[in-house]
Amino acid sequence: MKLNRLAISEEGFIFDPETGNSYTVNETGLLILKKLREGLGPEEIAEAMSEEYEVSPEEALRDVQDFLETIARFGLWEEKAWLK
């Protein structure tokens, strides 16, 4: 999986060795990436977020999906990859 090739620092700095592009994510963005690497799906990630942060599971799910769409557009993620 593409995600596993990315260099992700604890500060949220991301480097894609394939393209040379770099990115920054904030704390919750970092959390999503970590959970994705652990193999969790959007619902589980949203749940984990709403346990840790002041956000409802519904809003968290929308934001996770939105985030997934964004990283898919950056070529960092293939949709439904977590199903495999």
Binding site: S22, Y23, V25, E59, V64
Partner: protein, 446 residues
């Protein structure tokens, strides 16, 4: 204890991007307008909501007046109704000493209804309906003539009344700026003004007592006013010598810029817009050096935008959050180009009612209309916003509450934050009844 939440974001790093945008962050929050919390304004009066500041209106007027009086002894500000003709706004400027500058039958009637006497009205515009023109003559308004046909109309009115009518001539000229508004009035360089003056003198029913030149709007070149003033002074002298008239006023129109960001200008207004003092200085210098000492005609200024723009704010709410195919976030606001006509020409300042965590990202602000042109801002840099977040757009005080349109929805309330800190409604929101009242369903369709 759960931690405060920040929407997840990912930003592709581009050189220079982060630092630039971060430095602007603290300026993106506006919690209040003249001490009244944005949240309270929206909760009490609804969203969208136009908010005007009485303090800013008066301060700006006094500032400009003092500025120009510091450069020329006789100055009159004539409030440009078209820029914002809400009663409360006009009344504030009239209280400060402004006369009224109107360009249509409606504006003339509105100024009279507000209690402005005819002789404190400057009447401009390319079409003055005959009836209104007659009324303006009888009431002693200053009429700046735009065309030969209007001269014929005025001669006819003079014949009826049996008295000479005193008029001003609107003149267009090359002052070095583009575009040139040469469709209004009579051209100077081509000799048209002098020909017209000869014709007026030969008619014997009209007398030219003023010269008017409005060059355009949002003029970023102070020297253009210096040139206009200089040319008007020369023209005045010529008319006085040749025809024996006395030019009592020189009217330089409006056109001073506000601190708004004109599209296509890449510098922020703080850098791109010259200070108004430069305009005052150029005008004053040109007049004082061109006029004989002691013989100072009245300088009239029809400043609109520069007086009112920065006193107006629009509170609007994010109603929908979307992603565009290119990955940008898009927000649908409850105010679009129906309320913000000036969005076609200016990039407004976009502020958020509270601090929102997260890095600013490029995003698009759309209005609520079902039309592709309904874009309030093509590229704003905002942290990820949730539905319901309120934004404050400014400056929006000039031309929006006159050029707004009733299209598919209602026009919202307009409020004034008074100098005492009270909030007064100065225009109620429209209702269905307001709109259908003027309609008529013919008998056979009922």
């Amino acid at each position: 204890m759960r931690k405060p939440y920040q929407k997840p974001t990912i930003l592709k790093l581009q050189v220079g991007f982060m630092r630039d945008k971060k430095s602007g962050l603290s300026r993106m929050v506006r919690r209040e307008i003249d001490g009244v919390p944005v949240r309270e304004l929206a909760e009490r009066f609804g969203s969208p909501l136009f908010v005007f500041s009485e303090r800013r209106l008066r301060e700006q007027f006094r500032y400009l007046k003092r500025l120009f009086e510091g450069h020329y002894p006789r100055v009159e500000f004539s409030w440009s109704y078209k820029t914002n003709y809400l009663d409360a706004i006009c009344r504030i400027f009239h209280q400060e000493g402004a006369t009224a500058e109107v360009v249509s039958d409606f504006e003339y009637e509105k100024a009279r209804r507000l209690g402005i006497p005819g002789d404190e009205i400057v009447f401009n515009g390319p079409y003055k309906p005959k009836e209104t023109l007659r009324r303006a003559v009888l009431e002693g308004a200053r009429i700046n003539v735009d065309s030969m046909d209007e001269i014929l109309d005025l001669e006819e009115i003079a014949r009826e009344t049996g008295e000479k009518v005193r008029i001003g001539l609107r003149v267009n000229m090359d002052t070095g700026i583009y575009p040139r508004w040469d469709r209004f009035g009579f051209n100077l360089e081509s000799g048209e003004v002098l020909n017209v003056a000869r014709r007026i003198a030969a008619g014997g029913r009209l007398e030219v007592v003023g010269l008017h030149c409005h060059q355009g709007t949002f003029i970023l070149e102070p020297e253009a006013y210096g040139r206009a003033a200089e040319k008007l002074v020369q023209l005045a002298r010529k008319l006085e010598e040749e025809f024996g008239w006395t030019i009592e006023y020189l009217d330089l129109g409006g056109g001073f810029p506000s601190r708004n960001r004109l599209k296509g200008l890449y510098l922020p207004p703080e850098v791109a817009v010259p200070p108004l003092s430069e305009y005052a200085e150029r005008i004053g210098r040109a007049l004082l050096s061109g006029l004989p000492a002691g013989d100072y005609p009245l300088l009239i200024l029809e400043t609109g935008r520069a007086l009112v723009d920065e006193a107006g704010f629009l509170i609007t709410t994010v109603r929908t959050v979307k992603r565009l195919p290119d990955g940008r976030r898009a927000y649908v606001l409850d105010a679009g180009v129906n309320l913000l006509f000036t969005a076609f020409w200016y990039h407004f300042r976009v502020e958020i009612e509270k601090e929102i965590p997260g890095p600013p990202e490029p995003c698009v602000l759309y209005g609520p209309l079902c039309m592709n042109i309904d874009v309030v801002e093509e590229t704003a840099y905002l942290p990820p916003l949730s539905r319901g977040t309120r934004l404050i757009l400014s400056p929006v005080g000039a031309y929006n509450v006159t050029q707004w349109m009733q299209f598919i929805t209602y026009r919202p309330r307009v409020v004034l934050v008074t100098e005492a800190g009270k909030v007064e409604v100065i225009r109620e929101a429209e209702t269905l009844e307001d709109i259908v009242r003027r309609e008529n369903l013919p008998e056979h369709l009922r």
